[in-house]
Homo-oligomer: 357 residues x 2
């Protein structure tokens, strides 16, 4: 695999680059995409970069009916002096293969996939916005393409990478969000697909998300599917709480996603000597801490927002205001450090950065 050459077909009609000010998330895509095919006979083969273009599939393709698909999400950042960098992309490739195993999709060569990302990003480097906080979102994904209505793993797949320039998540300073603890719907359960990055987990979240949005909440905080008692995660973020000087986060229990940002946050906190504990956290424990005046900070972690402080938590009809609705000290320090490393203004102590150019 490592020796396969990526064939490149260049676009003949470059699209206009968007205005960095008006960028939204995931709506605009660059000029090229990467594709590679899988068949039982040939394994993963024919890696190629093509002009960004529609995918053509048989209407019976398994992905449409049985959702056998996985994806990843990471970003390329441009430093002040024009270097292009990825943040721990090997972690995403490892996770992609963990997702593949859960979904019975043939594993990819992680090294080669990373090489494909680098080659595509290098080609599209002029698409990486440079305004503060902007970046190029990278979406690798695998779809099952065999036309067959039986519930069985596909015999054919496509691995595709598309790129989308994205605006700053926080345009006017970091604004803590309001989130609502979900008491009816469940995102994932032990023994299910919660720890894989696969389509069905997100489809199942839409309804709850829609209902809380009507009440003015930005996101749903999921509880475990068994006892509806233990905190899992938020939409597309892992959760952290600072209680009485100690930072706690739900342990990897099989039903939450192992976030790359989560792992980086834990590493930083340990490095700083701030106690951080992974454990089962009940919503009651958080409520009690709040009542006792010990709930100091709450924040989500994920590639999109990096750190997303929570200003209000709605639970059981009560509204828990956290840190007066302002970003906490640890949240801010984590945000500054992580984005500093990503954009090259802070030292990359842990060797998290991989250069593209």
């Amino acid at each position: 695999m490592e020796n396969q050459e990526i064939q490149i077909t260049y676009t003949t009609t470059e699209k206009p680059k968007p205005n960095a000010e008006s960028l939204e998330f995931g709506k605009i895509f660059t000029d090229h995409m990467f594709i590679m095919d899988y068949s039982l006979e040939d394994g993963w083969h024919s890696p190629r970069i093509l002009p960004y273009q529609p995918i053509t599939l048989d209407p019976a393709a398994i992905v449409f009916h049985y959702g056998q698909t996985v994806f990843e999400g990471l970003k390329a950042y441009k430093t002040k002096d024009g270097h292009v960098r990825l943040f721990r992309p090997n972690k995403n490739m490892e996770r992609l293969n963990r997702s593949n195993r859960r979904l019975c999709i043939p594993e990819i060569d992680e090294e080669f996939a990373l090489q494909a990302i680098r080659e595509l990003v290098r080609l599209e480097k002029d698409w990486i916005p440079t305004a503060p906080g902007t970046s190029l979102y990278i979406r690798p994904f695998i779809i099952s393409t065999e036309p067959y209505l039986g519930v069985a793993p596909s015999k054919r797949y496509q691995f595709i990478i598309i790129l989308s320039p994205v605006g700053a998540y926080y345009k006017e300073g970091i604004n803590p969000v309001k989130i609502a603890v979900e008491q009816t719907f469940v995102r994932a359960v032990n023994g299910g697909t919660g720890e894989a990055k696969t389509a069905g987990n997100y489809a199942s979240s839409l309804k709850a998300q829609e209902l809380v949005a009507e009440k003015g909440y930005a996101q749903v905080l999921w509880l475990d599917g068994v006892e509806k008692k233990y905190i899992e995660e938020v939409g597309s973020m892992n959760m952290f709480f600072k209680v009485d000087g100690e930072v706690i986060t739900p342990s990897l229990n099989g039903s939450i996603l192992e976030g790359v940002t989560r792992n980086s946050v834990i590493t930083l906190l340990q490095h700083w000597g701030i106690p951080v504990i992974e454990k089962k956290i009940s919503i009651d424990e958080i409520y009690q801490a709040y009542k006792d005046g010990l709930l100091e900070e709450a924040f989500g972690t994920g590639t999109a927002a990096v750190i997303s402080p929570v200003g209000e938590l709605s639970w059981n009809g009560e509204k828990l205001a956290i840190n007066g609705g302002k970003i906490g000290e640890v949240s801010q320090r984590l945000y500054d450090t992580l984005t500093g490393i990503q954009y090259g203004t802070k030292e990359d102590t842990f060797n998290w950065i991989i250069e593209v150019s």
Copy 2:
């Protein structure tokens, strides 16, 4: 909607019809397909029948990433005298809309969707095989087509119907299957999407299915996701047990699919005066009945097999042989009655049949 006319474009190259003997499930498709589009401005519009052809989608289409999609499955049967009939298709359209609501997909007009099915089946009636037990499988499905990487309901959809001639499920008499009770993986949980017919439920089932297949089992019997104790359903069938003269089946608890065949079986049993009870059924209860010599029959129900008797149930390292591995009396009577109604050799007492031609 009812007044919208379905535009038809006929194929110019008819495919050869397959040999009824060699038909498999869901691998061959007919000459035409139905498509209808949805947009926020126009709602469901532009219903049309086209030559069967690939679908072309932006690689960022929501269905590939977040699995916002639903589907249905039913069959058209040809009687000896050439009439084409559907079995309770209105039930499938109702369920499609229940699935739509769970997945935040705009509802379809059930009457119109049924009209579309009838028109497409009528056009393709020469594709309906006539050998005993064969039929034309109908797969309506809806996919989210908006190119957007945000986790939110799509603003655009396609409703598609494809048709596949399928062989007799039982080629040499009914052969009871061996199934294994799943103790590690979970298909669905209360508050999740189990009662909707949506892709993610099937994606999550692949791994367990693969593992039991290696041990010679045809299917997985799912237990509930909370206590891993109560019987849910099998792959794509609902489950029934006959214990000491009484038929029992798991009640509709929010995490199993409400099968059309299940409903028909309950109706028939009631009509025949055979006690049938919908309730929470623990695997322990079934095991105890088996030990006491009271487990008389076990069978799955679904559109594909109609009735699928279970000859062996593997649970906790034990193999429970049911009715000596032979089909039971009630299972056989249900199979004969349902297929008799479907193929027109038995009276349609309950008005379940809708004629196509």
